[in-house]
Amino acid sequence: VNAVAAPPVALGALAPVLIVIGTAVAVLLLDLIPSRGKAHLAIAALAGLVAALFTTIAAWGGTVRAFRDMVVLDNYALFFHVVVCYAAALVVLLSVDYLRRAGAESGEYYALVLLSSSGMLLLAAANDLIVVFLAIELMSLSLYVLSGLFKRRREAGEASMKYFLLGVFASAFLLYGIALVYGATGATNFDRVAAAVAAQPRDPLLVAGLALILVGFGFKISSVPFHMWAPDVYEGAPSSVTALIATGSKAAVFAALIRFVVAGVRPAQPDWTALLWVLAVLTMTVGNVVAIAQGNLKRMLAYSSIAHVGYMLVGVVAGGAAGAGAVLFYLLAYTFTTAGTFGTITLCERAGVEAVQVGDYAGLGRRHPTLALALALFLLSLVGIPPLAGFVGKFYLFGAAVRAGFVGLAVIAVLNSAVAAYYYLRVIVAMYMQEPEGAPIVLAPSFAGGLALTIAVVGVVLLGVMPAPFADLAQAAVAPLLR
């Protein structure tokens, strides 16, 4: 009826993404100039992330839609932009000295971190299943490479290979789900899918498509039963990359997941609520129970992060502004805490190799009291001890569940936190209550790493003591979804 108008190109909606991609290219070019070290590349990467962060903060409050609503830069996306920028910046800071010590310093590393981050940023702003797919691939392909960075180690090859194969597998599920949804609704845009779902919530083709999409997301956030890759990848990847996988990538996929289930398929709520309920219980219980048996700290944290995904799914199940807002706050808290935990690992060595066994940390409290205190704070935040970020996050999550009437789920979740206390405390036991056998743990001094840990500690304490402003931001962020 109307003449087809050329779509307006509003690059403003992609500003943070473009800044980060641009920085990635700049880093690659800078790397061509011969120089002694690679620290300047890290500084360039950091500058790009900080610029993206400032762009994000400046854009707060407005909503920009672009590319026929395929990308929406609203408060919701901006909140995740902040989380991703923080996570990526902490990872860059942690990497500088860590990579030099490991002899794996390279310009591509920073470029890949930035490219992966740009995928995460795009994912948070995606309002279309096709963009979701593109963004996930952009993010994941870089991460597959990064996790195999220590190529001389056998675990690194295993991690990279496993992550790649299973990740591609998950992408296939996702894509197939998208195809089915498109077949059922004729659209990939969240808004139009929502309208179609409202018209026909029980269309078998649609339900099958939604289920497959959930499977794809489930792989990426490592929820049970799609979590098998996580422990091996977390163990084999460099700890700084593990931190990125555990924080930024998880946050970004959650961004898409929540936007999809809350804004996209809300009319089919009872169906996916029941499904997610089961996923949440399985995820947190399996994660926590298996974590108890781990002697390797990185594997333990992998299982613990699976459990934390379960807690966040509790918020998704609770739904509404309270549930979604709680997940956002939790992701922010979790990012600081987890980046800090893995960051501590990058600074610790024993007998010349990275200290990854829980037993390696024996005596850390005596030898390096400040570092031990920081790690203890991160772990206690993961347990959920007040007044630290993790506690407030759990409080919001479980509060949302109780509010929505899922008291049973909240009870399962809090009992899980009590189980989790056992294995987190084991690290504290090692640090403060045991003496090392053989070579003691040593601290690899690093200014950048110290700075990253300081930021993380401030975040963990601030979010715990003064949560109100941040929780309000999270609430403001989810408001656009629920209109």
Binding site: G365, P386, F395, V402, V407, L425, V429, M433, A468
Partner: protein, 508 residues
């Protein structure tokens, strides 16, 4: 509502602030660290004394209240205030902490800096629990103080300290996380019924929760958290481990203050918030308390280890407190609250003195001692006073509390009260028998001949405790007066809420 920073906030946070300052002191200056920690704890005590002097005993309201918005969107506020019950417990805490710190003067030489800091943070946590009038704030303090206690047991404890510390944390965690769900459920139910969503305790307590399943479940969740802390039989198994492994200072705080957090929780939360459920489960609590009294006493009798004996005696004594609380009459409750203070002082003193001979002999086995009177007469004499106070000799503090509790209990259930009374007799058996084996007779072990009697520092630690023991025994009104109005109001509240006709409760 008073000035932004009131006296309660100062008292509560002074120890933690002191701990932060002490972190700046170099690690090697151990004496300065010890003295600094002690000074902070003493200053806190000095600051808390005016709370009692300026306390209006005629009023049942919260006093020294302070309020500030914290997370306004959820109705969470920084709301503190004390009534007669919390007044006594705050004073008990500020009184025992300097003693505990000073008791570790020579006993703790490893990582002094951390020890002093952790003890001071622990004090802030405990005080916070007693002054919080906001459910969220209360929970924050309740959980937060777990960690310093865990560290005190786990870092500075005995041979099986790690096992004991982890057991302590896990036991307490399981109970308290369920309480968190109950707090949330209460918040949303109150909000849905009244229209204002708030964690403010006085506001929530004004609401009459309809009786039924949800009230029962919430009561059980709160009660489980508190019963583990008390500890009520059969949830007491963490206690002997924790006590035996903890250093003396830790045991003093654990027995003196921490266990009171459980009984305090029953008084502050379970009774006023869930009156119907409290009445329904009252008989069960009553029965468990009596079982605890008798069981604790019997098990104490056969302990070969002094510390374990005192630990099990705590199970018995806390049983009396629970008995008093669930009589739900004035005598029982006043006695129960006083007994909380008494147990803190007497058992704190017992642990302190056991710690003193442990420092000299590095054993706590009763069989290793004997004839101490001839070697260390001053120690033995003071130990006798403490032992007699713990077993409830008239004229000393324990008698007053236990007597009131039993008077209250006899009005509720004569048979159970009679059984509980045997607990006092068994207390005399295990304590006097222990005292006899340790102090009387001939010196059986050569090592004991060279023991030194009390040092001036130790005199200074024990004498204040003994003075209080006598003070409460002779003139308990100083300590019961502030609680009377509060407890009468509490009983009124429970009975009006539960819709039970107020049974004429006579005031002693």
């Amino acid at each position: 509502m008073s000035a932004p920073i009131g006296i309660l906030t100062l008292v509560t946070f002074l120890p933690a602030a002191g701990a932060l300052v002490l972190l700046l002191v170099p690690r090697r200056a151990e004496t300065a660290l010890r003295a600094g920690g002690l000074a902070v704890a003493l200053a806190t005590f000095a600051l808390s004394v005016p709370l009692h002097l300026r306390f209006d005993v005629a009023s049942a309201d919260y006093q020294f209240e302070e309020f500030a918005a914290w997370i306004p969107s959820l109705g969470i506020g920084y709301h503190v205030g004390i009534d007669g019950i919390s007044l006594l417990l705050v004073l008990l805490t500020t009184f025992l902490t300097p003693i505990a710190l000073a008791s570790a003067w020579h006993a703790i030489e490893d990582r002094t800096k951390e020890f002093v800091a952790v003890m001071l943070v622990l004090e802030t946590g405990m005080l916070g629990v007693f002054v919080s009038l906001d459910l969220f704030l209360f929970y924050v303090f309740w959980e937060a103080m777990l960690i310093p206690m865990y560290l005190v047991i786990g870092v500075w404890g005995g041979g099986h300290r790690i096992y004991a510390a982890v057991k302590f944390v896990l036991y307490t965690m399981v109970g308290s996380v369920l309480m968190l769900v109950a707090i949330l459920a209460l918040y949303y139910q109150h909000g849905a019924a009244i229209g204002t969503y708030t964690f403010d305790l006085p506001t929530v307590a004004r609401w009459v929760i309809p009786p039924g399943r949800s009230q029962t479940l919430m009561f059980l969740a709160f009660a489980l958290a508190f019963a583990i802390k008390v500890p009520l039989f059969p949830l007491h198994t963490w206690l002997p481990d924790a006590h035996v492994e903890a250093p003396t200072a830790g045991s003093i705080i654990l027995a003196g203050v921490l266990l009171k957090m459980g009984t305090y929780g029953f008084l502050r939360f379970c009774l006023p918030l869930f009156p119907d459920a409290s009445l329904v489960f009252g008989p069960l609590m009553f029965a468990l308390a009596v079982i605890g009294i008798v069981y604790g006493a019997w098990v104490s009798t056969v302990q070969p280890d002094l510390k374990k004996l005192v630990a099990y005696s705590s199970v018995s004594h806390l049983g009396f407190v629970m008995l008093g609380i669930f009589t739900l009459n004035v005598q029982g409750l006043v006695g129960g609250v006083l007994q909380m203070v008494n147990h803190g002082i007497s058992t704190g003193a017992l642990f302190l003195m056991v710690g003193m001979i442990y420092e000299r002999r590095h054993t706590r086995l009763i069989a290793q001692f004997g004839g101490l009177w001839k070697v260390v007469p001053a120690f033995s004499a003071l130990f006798l006073v403490v032992v007699l106070s713990s077993l409830g000799l008239p004229g000393l503090n324990g008698f007053v509390g236990e007597f009131l509790i039993l008077v209250g209990a006899f009005q509720v259930d004569r048979v159970l009260a009679a059984i509980a009374t045997t607990g006092i007799i068994f207390a005399a058996v295990y304590l006097l028998w222990m005292y006899q084996r340790v102090v009387f007779g001939e010196v059986t072990h050569e090592e004991n001949r060279r023991l030194l009697d009390l040092t001036p520092r130790e005199w200074a630690l024990v004498v204040p405790l003994v003075l209080l023991i006598v003070w409460i025994g002779v003139y308990p009104t100083t300590f019961t007066a502030p609680t009377q109005a509060t407890l009468e109001a509490l009983i009124m509240q429970v009975q009006t809420k539960a819709g039970v006709l107020a049974t004429a409760a006579s005031v002693p």
